[in-house]
Structure formats: structure tokens, C-alpha cells
């Protein structure tokens, strides 16, 4: 994108008809899931949908600044939504994958902690670079007072910018977003892993121990694919940059929930079909 590129004027408007179509598609996809694999497959599909929605919702919390943030002219971390969400989600996924044998809850929480930790470290180092490297204080341009600490923002904000640095609320938002994204990614992975470990031996005619590498790799790849799809769809929803949970763009989350649910249901259905006998 060139610097002069005009941002799409998508705005925060909802499209009720399209949302209704989305919900109907979701119900149809879950129905197909029930028809082809009523037990394990349907459980996995519902887990995948919940995981996808967690990723889509969590991404809204992450302070994404893009190119303006790199120049100190907008608050947030200076890269794109897809990169940040993928970083947090994959870090969470790797964290959660280690705990996959310890059950769903432990693995999901571990994944969430992994993602949250990555965002916390990223946010802290970003603020180090902003404050000590570029010499700019943290100030939000979207709110007069930080909703958590109550600090006023206006006197720290340079003229002609939308704010800069990473205010406290953005830091907190980043950690929450990383936690939700990591938990969602891990949930998808664990659900698919259980499904594949249960059904691949019969399908391929191999002992269970031998299919473990394939189950792990296939579940991991599907989780990464689903993660990227959900992260990019959310990036499209917030059209580039967002400051965190206090940003007016945050109110667009219902659209992302429906979009993530439909996209996850569709991709999850394909991921389940791979082990359904034909």
C-alpha cells in the first residue's frame, strides 16, 4: 500500500441482512457437521468455532499502529494486525501444544498465557524503544483520560499526531488480546488433535502410536491456517489500525464475531472431513 492510499470508508455500520445470512450459513455448516459426524466431529467443530471467535474477538484488543506508529505519529505497535495476531496466536499455540496431554482446560489456559506473555513482552519493549529510543511519551489520541489509570492524555500528545507510544490501556488491551488469541488457537489445535488421534489409525490402518506425528502436524497446520484466516478477517474489520479496547473502532466487534464464526465453521468442517470415511 502506498502512503497516499485512501483508506476504505467501511465505517462502523452493520449490515443486518448480511449478518443474518452469516448466521444462517453458520447453522447450515454446523448442521452438515452433525450429519457427517454426530459425535466427535461435532464436538471438534464447536470447539473450532469457539476458538475462531476467541481469535477474532481478541484481535480487537491488540494495539496495532502500522506505519504511522513507526514514525511516532499514532499509538500502538508498529506493524500490521495480521502479523501481531499471528505472532501472539502462534506463540500461544506452541505454548499450549506442550500441555496438550494435560487436558483441554490446562492446555487452553497455557496457550492463553503464552500468547499474553508474548504480547506483554512486545508491548514493554515497544514502549522502551518509544520512550528511550525515540524520546516520545505515551499518549492516546482517542480518549481524554486513560480509562484505567485516569491519567490525562492531551498535554502529552504532540500537535498534528493522533497520539503516540503505548498508553497503559493499550498495554492492558494487548495482553488481553494475546491471551484470547493464544487460548483460541490452542483450543482449535487440541480439538483437532483429539479428533485425528482417534480417527486416523482406523482410516490409515496403522497402530495409534505411528499416526501421532501426522495427527500433530495436520492439527497444527489446520490451526495455523484457521488462525491466519481469522486474524486477516479481523484486520479487514478494523481496517488497519486500532488503539485498544478504548478505541471507537472496538465497537465493530459483533461483525467480527459473525465473520469469524462462519469462516471457522467452514474451514473446520473441511478439517473434519479429512478423517470422515468416504
Amino acid at each position: 500500500m502506498s502512503a497516499v492510499a485512501a483508506k476504505p470508508q467501511a465505517g462502523g455500520a452493520m449490515n443486518p441482512a448480511a449478518m443474518a445470512v452469516g448466521v444462517v450459513m453458520l447453522i447450515i455448516l454446523v448442521g452438515i457437521g452433525y450429519a457427517i459426524s454426530p459425535g466427535l466431529g461435532l464436538t471438534a467443530l464447536i470447539g473450532i468455532i469457539i476458538g475462531g471467535v476467541l481469535i477474532g474477538f481478541g484481535t480487537h484488543f491488540v494495539p496495532v499502529g502500522g506505519a504511522p506508529a513507526a514514525m511516532g505519529q499514532a499509538p500502538g505497535i508498529a506493524t500490521g494486525v495480521a502479523m501481531l495476531a499471528a505472532g501472539a496466536g502462534l506463540a500461544g499455540l506452541f505454548g499450549g501444544a506442550w500441555a496438550a496431554e494435560q487436558g483441554l482446560v490446562v492446555a487452553t489456559v497455557t496457550g492463553g498465557v503464552g500468547g499474553g506473555l508474548l504480547m506483554a513482552i512486545t508491548c514493554m519493549m515497544v514502549n522502551f524503544v518509544y520512550v528511550f529510543g525515540m524520546g516520545i511519551p505515551s499518549a492516546s489520541g482517542k480518549v481524554a483520560k486513560d480509562p484505567i489509570t485516569g491519567d490525562t492524555q492531551a498535554e502529552f500528545k504532540s500537535q498534528g499526531t493522533e497520539g503516540h507510544g503505548l498508553p497503559f490501556i493499550s498495554f492492558v488491551g494487548g495482553v488481553i488480546g494475546g491471551f484470547l488469541g493464544g487460548a483460541g488457537g490452542t483450543l482449535i489445535y487440541v480439538q483437532l488433535l483429539e479428533l485425528y488421534e482417534a480417527s486416523l489409525p482406523a482410516m490409515m490402518g496403522l497402530p495409534p502410536a505411528q499416526v501421532v506425528p501426522i495427527a500433530v502436524a495436520a492439527a497444527g497446520m489446520f490451526a495455523v491456517g484457521l488462525f491466519l484466516v481469522n486474524a486477516v478477517l479481523t484486520a479487514y474489520n478494523i481496517t488497519g489500525t486500532i488503539e485498544g479496547p478504548h478505541d471507537p473502532k472496538f465497537k465493530r466487534w459483533p461483525r467480527a464475531i459473525v465473520a469469524s464464526a462462519v469462516a471457522s465453521a467452514m474451514c473446520g468442517l473441511v478439517a473434519i472431513l479429512i478423517v470422515v470415511p468416504m
Binding site: 476504505p8 449490515n15 448480511a18 495480521a82 496403522l206 502436524a217 497444527g220 484457521l226 465473520a259
Partner: protein, 282 residues
């Protein structure tokens, strides 16, 4: 509602690139099936060529989509292409010889629904969105399948999940040493994703030229093919892997030189500065 900021001036129209890319990819993918017919692995390199042709088509699709300021950066388009493509590709490998066709159709369906979600539910309202995401998912699926064929010599689920390992002179079948079980698919995924998102990101701007961008895509594609060909030593015979590697290196050297020439053509001025100054004569 959105404003188109760049128009395609001159050059090959997008539909020509689309049809050529699609047919070229499918033909090259099916040429790897000669491996099964002739019972060798010599034709694996056609998989790499299929991936490169798909990447060239995909990078032009990214150009069409990102000409509308989508506000999320060019790399996100490459990420969604491979994210949706890998899902279609893995499922399609179950269909044996029909795998490329199934991957194409399934990826197109997934991409179409993602396009509908972006344009209507997320209210993007970008005219090229639905077609671009449909093409992009197909490109992701087909180029991953190309890399799979390059590395393993085939594109069926059996071939991608089983390998052989030699131990103490015995050859035993193993699922760990395989394209999916060994995690090579993750490397192939990112090799393709980087190659598809880089060219337009690197050449965009007022001086954008179609032939320069497509040459850069071919160069990135061959660079990825070099790495994939090196990985293929683990799974196919050394002779076939060396053949792939030679083709990849030759293709990369040619396209790299062409790209440098095109960059010199489009540059306002060219100073051949040397990174290390000559110290002779001291």
C-alpha cells in the same frame, strides 16, 4: 465507497494472467504424475514449476486487490491466501489423481465465502474482493500442492504421510519421515507465503511496472524452490533432488539477472557502488 488508487496501465490484462496461470499450474501438477506412470521420481521438479506459475498469478491478484487501499498491508493478503489454501489442499490430497482439481474447486469455494464475509458482513465493499480472495485461496492451495509434489514426488495423502527410513541396511516405512508427519509442510507454507506477498510489497508505488513485479515473483519463487529442493533430498532419490536443485538454481540466476536489468531500466539513475572498496594501489 473505496477509492482505487492505482490503475493497471499497459501490460497483460489480469484475466489473461489468471487463465494462463491456472492452466499452467494444473498442467505442471499433472506432469508430476509421470512419476507414477514411469515409476521414477525424476519429474518432481514440475511441482516446483507449478508452484512458481501459481505464485506469479497470485502476486498479480494481490496487486489487483491491494490497488484498493484495504488498509491492512499487503502481507495480510498472502497470509489469508495460504491460510485458506492449506485447508483445501490437505483435504484434497485424499482424492488421489483428482487432487489438484478438488483443491482448486474447494479452495475457490472457501475463498468465495471468505470474500462474501469480508465484503458484506465486514462491510469492506471492495469490488475486486470476492474474485481476488477466490483466486488467492486457489493459488495458496495449488502452490502448496506444487511444493508437496516437488518434495515428495507426488500429491496423494498416502505419499505425503508415509516415507521410508534406512536403518542398518534395512528399509522400513515410517510416518515421521514424511511431508506432513515431518512438519515439512510448515516450511513449504511459509516459503510460499513469503514468495507471494513480497513482490507487490516491494515494487508498489508510482513507478510500478507489471513485468518487473512478475519477474520478482518468479525470482522469489525459484528462491523458495531452491530451499524446497534441498528439503526433497530427505524424501526422494538423490538424482531427482539434484535435478530439481539444478533447475531451481538456474531459474533463480536467470530471473535474478533479469530482475536487476528491469530495475536498472526503471530506475531514474544507477550508480554501481561497490560494497567493499578496492584496496589495490595502496
Amino acid at each position: 465507497m473505496s477509492v482505487k488508487v492505482e490503475v493497471i496501465e499497459g501490460g497483460t490484462p489480469h484475466n489473461t494472467i489468471l487463465i494462463t496461470g491456472l492452466l499452467g499450474t494444473l498442467v505442471c501438477l499433472y506432469l508430476t504424475y509421470l512419476n507414477v506412470l514411469t515409476n521414477t521420481e525424476m519429474f518432481a521438479f514440475f511441482g516446483g514449476l507449478a508452484a512458481i506459475i501459481a505464485l506469479i498469478w497470485g502476486s498479480h491478484t494481490i496487486k489487483v486487490l491491494c490497488s484498493y487501499g484495504i488498509g491492512t498491508g499487503v502481507p495480510s493478503a498472502g497470509m489469508i491466501a495460504f491460510g485458506s489454501g492449506v485447508i483445501a489442499m490437505l483435504f484434497a490430497t485424499r482424492f488421489g489423481i483428482l487432487a489438484p482439481i478438488v483443491a482448486l474447486v474447494l479452495a475457490a469455494v472457501i475463498g468465495f465465502i471468505l470474500g462474501y464475509i469480508s465484503n458484506n458482513i465486514l462491510n469492506m465493499k471492495i469490488p475486486a474482493m470476492v474474485q481476488a480472495l477466490t483466486e488467492m485461496a486457489a493459488v495458496g492451495a495449488l502452490s502448496l500442492m506444487g511444493f508437496a509434489a516437488l518434495i515428495t514426488g507426488g500429491f496423494t495423502f498416502e505419499g505425503l504421510t508415509t516415507g521410508t527410513v534406512s536403518m542398518l541396511g534395512m528399509t522400513i516405512s515410517s510416518n515421521q519421515i514424511s511431508f506432513i508427519g515431518g512438519g515439512l509442510i510448515a516450511v513449504a507454507f511459509l516459503l510460499g507465503a513469503i514468495a507471494i506477498q513480497h513482490p507487490f510489497n516491494a515494487t508498489l508505488g508510482p513507478g510500478w511496472k507489471q513485468d518487473r513485479m512478475l519477474m520478482l515473483t518468479a525470482e522469489c519463487g525459484f528462491l523458495s524452490m531452491i530451499v524446497a529442493a534441498v528439503m526433497s533430498f530427505a524424501l526422494i532419490s538423490a538424482g531427482s533432488a539434484i535435478l530439481s536443485l539444478i533447475i531451481a538454481i538456474a531459474g533463480w540466476a536467470y530471473t535474478y539477472n533479469q530482475y536487476i536489468d528491469l530495475s536498472k531500466r526503471d530506475a531514474a539513475a544507477w550508480l554501481d557502488a561497490k560494497p567493499i572498496p578496492d584496496t589495490e594501489g595502496h
